[in-house]
Amino acid sequence: MPTPRIIVLRAPGSNCDQEAAFAFETAGGKAEVVHLNRALENPKILAAAQILCIPGGFSYGDDMSAGRVFGNQIRHHLAGAMQDFKAAGKLILGICNGFQILIKSGVLLPDRADEPIATLTNNDSGKFECRWINLAVEGSKCVFLQGIQQLYVPIAHAEGKFVARDEATLNALERNAQLCLRYCEESGANPKSEIRSPKSFLPYPINPNGAQRNTAGVCDETGRVLGLMPHPERHIDPTQHPRWTREKQERGDGLAVFENAVRFFG
């Protein structure tokens, strides 16, 4: 199996780049952390990778709004390179701040800068929160989520509430299976049979931020671009599970997301 190359694109204030690279390496990829300035100087360098990952953190301080400055830099300087990357059938993953950037830049849901389709805004709780949450996969469109039915991973954000421009947009995204990852209730003893599609709006903290339709992750029309607020790279090792001392784990839930990406090029 050829080893795909991953670029983890960091900017001032990115801070989950090391563990994201480690997750891809654990999954069998070859990951390199690259500063955004290198891509701005020479957008062609992105073409060397098969997978682009924009990691979590607080790029440019999340000043103005989360992901705004990085997102604008993509809109102003890297739109073509991103378009080429997608058109080449490659994969893009945005985690937490990376999701915010993919939305604000229009890479995930193509739009006009002054007519955005959707956003990730302040949590209903009004504050940053770090907690573990349950996720259910909806549909089978997204490459990163193939074969996964549920995930238990942490969130850590202040601006993670997914809001679409209007009801019609939301319905279209849902119909098109792009709202591919949802917050869900903890499943019972036999999770696989009990996963229910979470249609109704779930209360805090099951839906930790008040996201519409309990949306935790969104993919593009092709299923090859995924943005998600939770952090799969923080559940690679069994001892990262908050209850590993009472529920023995074989492996971390999040690893499958990275393995799917690497396997896509296998």
């Binding site: 989950c16 956003t119 770090c130 001892t239």
Partner: protein
Amino acid sequence: MTLWEVDIHPAPGEPDLLGRSTAAQARDLGLGDLSIRTARGYLVQGDISGEDMQRLARELFADLVVETTRFGKIGYDELDVDPAVYDGNDAPPSTLIHVLPKPGVTDPVADSALKAIADFGLKADAVCTLRKYWVADLPADRLKLLTTKLLANDSIEQVILGPLSLKRIDVSSTYQFEAQTVQITTLSDEALLALSKVRTLSLTLVEMQTIQAHFRQLRREPTDAELETIAQTWSEHCSHKTLAGMIDYRDENGERKFGNMLKETIFAATQRIRKELGKDDWCVSVFKDNAGIVRFDERFNIAFKVETHNRPSAIEPYGGANTGVGGVIRDTLGTGMGAKPICNTDIFCFAPPDMPAGELPPGVLHPRRVMRGVVSGVRDYGNRMGIPTVNGAIYFDERYVGNPLVFCGNVGLIPRDQSFKEPRPHDLIVAVGGRTGRDGIHGATFSSAELTSQSEKVSGGAVQIGNAITEKMVMDVLLAARDRGLYTAVTDCGAGGFSSAVGEMGGEIGAEVWLDKAPLKYEGLSYTEIWISEAQERMVLSVPEEKWPQLDALCKSENVEATVIGRFEPTGRLVLKYHGTVVADMDMQFLHDGRPRVERKAVYEPIAERRLQKAECKTPSSNLQSAIPNLQSTSDTFLSILSSLNVASKEWVIRQYDHEVQGGSVIKPLTGVANDGPSDAAVLRPVLSSRRGVVISCGMNPRFGEFDTYHMAQSGIDEAVRNCVAVGADPSRIAILDNFCWGYTERPETLGSLVRASLGCYDLAVVLGTPFISGKDSLNNEYSYEANGQRRTIQIPPTLLISAMGQVDDVSRCVTMDLKSAGNLLYQVGATKDELGGSHYALVNGLSGGHVPKVDAQLAKKTFAALHQAISSGLVRACHDLSEGGLAVTAAEMAFAGGLGAKIRLAEVPSSTPAVERREGFDDVLLFSESNTRFLVEVPHANRLHFEAALAGVPFAHIGEVTDGGRLQIAAAPIAHQHLPPTWLVDLDIATLKEAWQKPLRW
């Protein structure tokens, strides 16, 4: 040039989160239900057209899915229309309040906006952020209360009622260079003291006289820069002159003279331990660098530092705590050749947040506001830096009302061969990171002074605001430069700014600094201001000239500013120049060794032991009442302790910290079946490819200090170590740190209590083999104010924080505190003594007296080793230490964290008091005593014999079982001479216990 204002409002139907939280906090302040609308905004100064401004408003400032914008030239009427009436609705009249940063105060969002505007191909000259509040009309006095207590902080922000009428927002002024000297050689003693005060030098008369004599000898007057440099270098904050000074100490055991108190107690313990370890010594660098360093594995060492940031946090809680975290991160970054920060730890002491506003002394912020601000400040800096905040504690006591304490700690990982630094003669002095502004002038000297109700006014300049992203960028390039070998030494710019950093680094060599080269945030700073500014996020490097081009290129490639500001010249002198003119020329030796040594007196008078009794009431009639404590029922006492603030859940705080970032989390601050039980210590894997773990915990018992600070100190060490051991740390590899926060140490009794605590530290650390590797003190924590024409002073309780850093070979051997399975056995390890003095049992029942917990050092060492043996052999399923609230609280926490019940028989609890000697009420001792070196341990039946064998030789007993009934049932011990069957002394549902524990701080 135009000054534009862009305001951002929630879109119709979207919540006004700031308005909502402001209204909630106004209610807490007693202002009733206020109707508040808010907007945030930006002032943008520059030649920008209306069309471009609209584009910026829509594509940069607002998030159009959920927000709307209004913009116009400043003063445009529509900007100030209350959102409640904006769409033509009727609403009662309201007052508009603008809040803006004061000129010159760091405004990170504005800095980002400036750069982001440039990315649109536009140019703004200045940006300033603002907040707008529309508040239903209030009487003037209540409006003032609202603005001063809630909306704005006067030390960093300005309030403008009604429309803005600013013309421009850039703060530059011109600076006319003039070398200043200060007349000192002819001054009288009174005038010397007055000079020290008026310049906030915080120097004593003897020190001023020494400086005077020095310059008389030189036959000249000092320049202002020279005088300031000496004041910074000799400040308590930088030189620890009190504790590292000569102290003549006397207690009941006689007199002892210290030449250097810290060296002869705290450091001496470490030296003795290292000597005894011989070739197995695992300390690497202690008490000399910015952080202490110990061995971790074959490739790495780990560094740990805990700082205090009390004074700034009292005045501006958010900025103070924010820069406290930023500062301690720079400490580890500036240790050796630079350590990579891997986790933060934050401990706070506050007054109770429910203190009525009317009972506060004048000039202090409400403790609830202090707590909210401090927590937010820690959260925003740590989270933005991408450093997990994994451990902490909050201690509440009314005496912290004027002096809240904020301890910020950071652990760093450093390659073994990068653990030492040495600047070389002729190396360039390079400043990296943030620009220099007027912020934080006199932080070092101010932090060494006593706070008064006037402090907020006089020391506004001492407050700094942090910008975590700037520091993150510095960290990124610094670690890359370290690995490429581009510098020979690094240190942080902390208190005293360049003056301390360059003075310390070049102390052995000599240095020449070109102050005009330092990049400034705005024009108008004098050379002295540049030299002593405590602007944040700056590091100083010593760079060989041939490496400078590479370092410069690396920094530029990540938009980090790096500037050559001087050179280490082998002259033994510190020379400062401004555009070629010498403005200071000092002998390094005088600077570092010239401070006069003062001998201080310290006295400790032991307090006679009294039996536990109802605290004396102030009303005379109460003296006649019975001396027998009139207590609540055992269950009520139990629930009161669980709800007492020190014990209650801190989940509201913990959830706001990212404790997962960097991906190495093993034991989180909250644990158990619902992820909400209190862990004893945090464990993380700093190297993701390795199974080796770092363990972080702390211990602190200010209430014990009222009995004897010797035992308080030992209890703090025991608590920190047992927390580490409880999760699986190897007790022979635990390093500890001390942070003394004390009152006014010029008083012999106050200093005496501190010396006594240090003696306690020495005695226990040596026996346990836990070396102190770093420490920091903060003295003179007293708050003075006038009330009814009298000066009153509040002294904080003696507060010693012990932080512990342990290690585990394989994290999969760690245990958590939540009960795991019904049927497992519960053991108490360690004996319970009649030690209710200073306990939370005494606190909630209003009792004083009693015996304060002591530590049996030899037994503690044996107990920790035996328990570690059992844990590392995999015999233990859950383990939790016994601390505040004793056995009762520990059992409750383990039960509700595990979602299981437990049965405990007090008759079986190991105790140093034989059953025949126990009086009525001894059950309360067994339940609530806070004796040291105790654990409650869950052991599966199958491991029973092996566990008991491992614990041979230390006190332990099987005292109960885990049950699945969801109740905590505790059986009273039968009284020896009454042959009654045991009864349930406590029989409570775990949901009730958990609710009592979670409710108080569920904000």
